[in-house]
């Protein structure tokens, strides 16, 4: 048996599973998005771009798409701003404190998003911990509205996403030569300069790959915006959910989902192009 045939044979179970349960469903969903729907007859098996026109021709959906990508972008930027320094600090800790920090970063990752978002709902609510504290301190008179706002979603999303950024940056920094920082120091650079001129460039591959993960996951996140944003701050994922489980207009929901898929893929490809060009520049 040839090597190549053996390799394909070993991959065959996976190929079958993915063919039947990933490829076929995605194609079916695309076809579904071309079907039409009416409230009495349900899904009709005709084919046409009507749902896409309906979405692209309605300002309501533009608001939702705009909100979704704005939230994803802001979340990504905040994750970079937090993740890079934290990863750098972690690298310089003593092994004991580093293992504690690893737990702090990774631990939440392994706890259900629903549970963590519940925590944020309790913290950010009108009668939540933050508002209570601020009122007690006399800083505000009426509670600040944080639940059911984009801001609230961003806070909770950053909590969900920042571990991915820290891990990506940390992996990049671990590959770097730690002596480079000492070299910069010996040449007279201060901490801020070292961070800006040595650490950030070394972390860049991690920042780029981390940003891609964080952005695409934030853009398609469901649990956090569903619980924190509710019906008032809807994003694409929650809109799709409502179309499928509420109004039961599956074709329209499928069209929205397809648009999400396409925009995420486009962003990913564009980003990869950017990263490759950057890598080419570094390698020469």
């Amino acid at each position: 048996m040839s090597e190549t045939r053996r390799n394909w044979l070993l991959s065959a179970p996976g190929l079958v599973l993915f063919g039947v349960l990933l490829f076929v469903p995605l194609v079916m969903t695309f076809i579904l998005s071309l079907n039409s729907f009416d409230f009495y007859g349900g899904i009709k098996p005709d084919i046409g771009p009507g749902n896409y026109f309906a979405v692209l021709g309605d300002g309501y959906y533009y608001t939702i798409f705009g909100r979704t990508f704005a939230i994803a972008l802001v979340t990504t930027v905040i994750c970079v701003l937090i993740g890079v320094p934290v990863a750098w600090f972690m690298l310089k800790m003593t092994p004991f404190w580093r293992s504690i920090m690893v737990l702090v970063v990774i631990g939440p990752l392994l706890i259900s998003v629903v549970v963590r978002t519940l925590g944020w709902a309790i913290i950010l609510g009108n009668k939540g911990i933050v508002n209570d504290a601020l009122i007690h301190l006399g800083l505000i008179e009426r509670p600040i509205k944080m639940m059911f706002t984009s801001g609230g979603i961003v806070v909770a999303l950053v909590h969900v996403m920042v571990p991915f950024m820290v891990l990506a940056v940390w992996a990049a920094l671990q590959r770097a030569d730690p002596a480079a920082e000492r070299a910069a120091e010996s040449l007279g650079a201060g901490t801020v300069t070292i961070f800006r001129r040595v650490v950030v460039p070394q972390a860049l591959p991690g920042i780029l790959s981390g940003s891609l993960i964080v952005f695409s996951m934030s853009a398609s996140a469901f649990a956090t915006p569903a619980i924190i944003g509710g019906r008032r701050a809807k994003v694409i994922a929650t809109t799709v959910y409502d179309e499928f489980m509420g109004t039961l207009n599956w074709p329209l929901g499928a069209a929205i989902a397809m648009l999400l898929l396409v925009s995420v893929v486009v962003v990913m490809l564009a980003w990869n192009r950017l990263v490759e060009r950057r890598v080419e520049k570094v390698i020469g």
Binding site: L110, R116, A254
Partner: protein
């Protein structure tokens, strides 16, 4: 070079931020009152006892447990041979194969959710446990594959050649040399896949029916209507479960290795 005061302060604030929602959920679950308050005005196990009177959560927990074990095992059984092919082979289509198997991480989960819903509805498996387990296997397979691939790439090809030169046949080499070397990767991948399945909401929310509702979906629909200390106490139990699992994994594999692929020597 050590961290300065500023760096330490940053880490402290970061740690507080990361732990805040978890501490809050755990804290709230001990309240003796009927509403969410933090810090709790007293300590009571009232809401933990209440779980016993909430069969839907207990049942959801069992379903999630069963689902996690079955789908993680299924994913491992499929991912290990694929990883062997991708990790060692030099053949056309290798890159494409890897991209395909990693693709569930790239497709937005909500898209996967509706695609599975559509597919299962058409083939008549909608809401069934079988359908749920198959779909979970697809979305958690990348986690197993990544860890097994990492352990294969760390394997010295010469070790297998050594076994071969000593007279071992293909199957014996695999069983006695290759497999023991990648077992940590398989176990690590299995645990990560199990946890992912156990916590999965976005796909499950589309494809469960009332008799197959998983714990995260139960929690979500409960929270969507009302937030009472009961969801907090159920959450606390799942946190405890995860922590125990983490401790076990850390002892045998190393948590950092589980998620970064390097770490504990």
């Amino acid at each position: 070079m050590r961290n300065g005061v500023f760096a330490k302060l940053c880490c402290l604030v970061f740690a507080a931020f990361m732990l805040a929602p978890i501490v809050v959920v755990v804290g709230v679950s001990f309240t003796p009152t009927g509403f969410l308050e933090f810090p709790p005005s007293g300590i009571s196990l009232r809401w933990f006892r209440a779980i016993l009177d909430a069969p839907e959560f207990i049942e959801g927990g069992w379903i999630s447990l069963k689902l996690g074990v079955i789908s993680a095992t299924l994913a491992a059984v499929i991912a290990v041979p694929a990883a062997l092919a991708i990790g060692r082979g030099r053949f056309r289509g290798r890159e494409a194969l890897l991209a395909l198997f990693m693709s569930p991480l790239m497709v937005p989960t909500v898209v996967l959710g509706i695609a599975f819903l559509r597919f299962l509805t058409v083939v008549g498996l909608s809401g069934t446990f079988t359908g749920l387990a198959l779909c979970h296997a697809v979305i958690i397979l990348p986690f197993v594959l990544r860890l097994v691939l990492a352990s294969i790439s760390g394997l010295d090809r010469a070790t297998e050649r050594a076994a071969e030169s000593l007279g071992a046949g293909g199957w014996t080499v695999f069983r006695r040399v290759t497999l023991p070397a990648i077992v940590p990767g398989i176990l690590g991948g299995w645990v990560l896949a199990f946890i992912t399945s156990f916590d999965e909401l976005t796909v499950s929310v589309f494809i469960v029916n009332p008799s197959t509702t998983t714990l995260p979906v139960r929690l979500y629909s409960h929270i969507a209507q009302t937030t009472d200390p009961l969801v907090a106490s159920v959450s606390t139990v799942t946190i405890l479960f995860t922590v125990v699992l983490m401790i076990v994994v850390d002892r045998f594999y190393g948590l950092d290795r589980l998620l970064i692929g390097e770490g504990k020597k």
